[in-house]
């Protein structure tokens, strides 16, 4: 990492000492603001979080006591939290495969086009940039049972209109539909970068070796070469799926048992001010995200060396 470093330090001994000291002072001065913020924004809050999680502290309360791991035990008996966990898992179970395979399909098709590539990239990436809160409001209107074009199309096809946001069983799948809509462009761009990195010779060699059909070439060359990209996309998609919040806050507000992990956490911590209990829930949320991101780092390191 610092292989080029000795060259930056001159050889005369007394001057080197003075210069090295000056270098250290400058290094510390340059890093100090960021280091202080790192402690105040990351380290202290994490310590406080761990501290809160073993107390029954409520914001504004004058008295609190140590309760050990009771908050964690309570979490796994709390029907609301378990429901939020289940809802988030269901949401992820829809968004992860749809978000990966639809974007992979789109990327493969876009990769094959030449002149129209920019156009497709704009069309599919637009939802990524748009403010999700505003777009959730638009989706609410699009899916409206009587005023929305989606139900107009369903009725026109001869089926009964579907109340997407009025039927409890459909709430999470509907949110997942919007989540997929938003993430496809993001994943597609990552897949396109992966596809561009595959050497053309490899595809050509596979063709000469008898993989005549594009599907054969996809299975023998493209799919294995996309391994690291797919892994990365899978992890980022699952992390964003576990962080679903905006659509819940706008469209359901947790009604009819549609809380997700972050929404339940938001209610406990900031609406009901159950700081201690919310801290325990936050640590569970953090553990899930960390397991996913550690999996990402390990897999990436393993897969990078072919």
């Amino acid at each position: 990492m610092t292989a080029a470093f000795p060259a930056a330090i001159p050889h005369a001994a007394p001057r080197r000492d003075a210069r090295a000291r000056r270098m250290i002072r400058r290094g510390l001065a340059f890093a100090a603001p960021a280091a202080v913020l790192l402690v105040v924004i990351y380290l202290l809050p994490l310590v406080m979080l761990a501290g809160f999680s073993v107390t029954d502290y409520q914001l504004g309360a004058l008295r609190w006591s140590f309760v050990g791991l009771k908050n964690f035990a309570a979490a796994f008996r709390d029907p609301v939290f378990l429901r939020a966990l289940g809802n988030t898992a269901l949401y992820a179970a829809i968004v992860i495969p749809c978000g990966i395979f639809l974007s992979l399909g789109a990327a493969l098709l876009v990769h094959g086009t030449r002149r129209s590539r920019a156009l497709w990239e704009i069309a599919y990436f637009l939802p990524v940039t748009a403010t999700l809160v505003a777009m959730a409001t638009v989706w609410q209107f699009l899916l409206h049972p009587t005023l929305g074009p989606v139900n107009a199309a369903i009725t026109w096809l001869g089926a009964a209109p579907v109340s997407f946001l009025g039927t409890p069983a459909l709430l999470i799948p509907t949110l997942a539909l919007i989540g997929t809509w938003q993430i496809i462009g993001f994943n597609m761009v990552l897949f396109l970068a992966g596809l561009t990195a595959i050497p053309k010779d490899l595809t050509e060699a596979a063709r000469l070796d008898g993989a005549r059909h594009p599907v054969d070439r996809f299975l023998t060359v493209t799919w294995p070469m996309l391994g690291p990209t797919t892994m990365f996309v899978a992890v980022t998609t699952s992390i964003s799926a576990f962080k679903v919040f905006e659509t819940v806050a706008v469209l359901t507000k947790g009604r009819a048992g549609s809380e997700t992990l972050l929404y339940a956490l938001y209610l406990e911590g900031f609406d009901y001010s159950n700081t201690g209990y919310a801290a325990a829930l936050t640590l569970i949320f953090l553990a899930i995200v960390l397991v996913l991101s550690i999996g990402q780092t390990l897999h990436l390191e393993k897969k990078v060396h072919y």
Partner: protein, 275 residues
Amino acid sequence: MSALSPRRWLPHLVLGLGALVMLLPFYWMILTAIRSPSEIFDISLWPVPKHFAGIENFTQAATSVPMARFMLNGVIVCGGILIVQVLTAVPAAYALAKLRFPGRRLMLSLVIAALCVPMQALALPLFVGLAKAQLLNTYFAMMAPFLLSVFAIFLFHQSFRSYPDEIIEAARLDGFSELEICWRLVLRGSLPSLAAFAVFSVVAHWNDLYWPMIVVTRTELAPPPLGMLFFSDAETGANYGALMAGATLITAPIVLCFLAARKQFVAGITMTGVK
């Protein structure tokens, strides 16, 4: 292959149908924003409204809630965050990449570890701290958790490392101060990274709802997404035209920037895995 061969047109057909689904919400949003309330019940996708009500709808969106204020709040918060992030991350990244000081390795490991910690995990203790300091409902509270971007430090560190040491050494001999070397020489070599980071930061904070929802309860301080939430709660079903006009106003700045600088945008948003 002839132009009529299915291999030629089939991908475009599939992509086109997909694009229709992706763009339908944007189309519907703008269409409703220029329609009069009576036409909303027609549910037609025909682009030309019988009566152009865009002016009424946008006026109502801008007057029934302080929409201009929301946008201004968004600009203040995003601008403030970006400036402080760059001011703190660039020197730190330069020190980590090019200077030797005790604790350098520890700090680098902490930065990389912090990359895995989502903001939502820090929200609770930061909220308690800000509440105790009586700082809730301030611009500072909205910016506080984001004043340091470990992602920026990591990104600039990667980019600064490849800057030649010989040039830095020559500049020192020429009497350049370390600050000048950091900001005027090394950063200039990493302008694409800076541009991509700026895009990433502004888009993330313009669109963020979670943190503003926690620390802001006063309407006049709300950034665009929180303002939109207040607006849609207040207007439920009453006037879809104005609601969609509001959504258009909030979405427009970022979407227009995306259309103007597509390459930098895509680079900025996708270089981080975790949004």
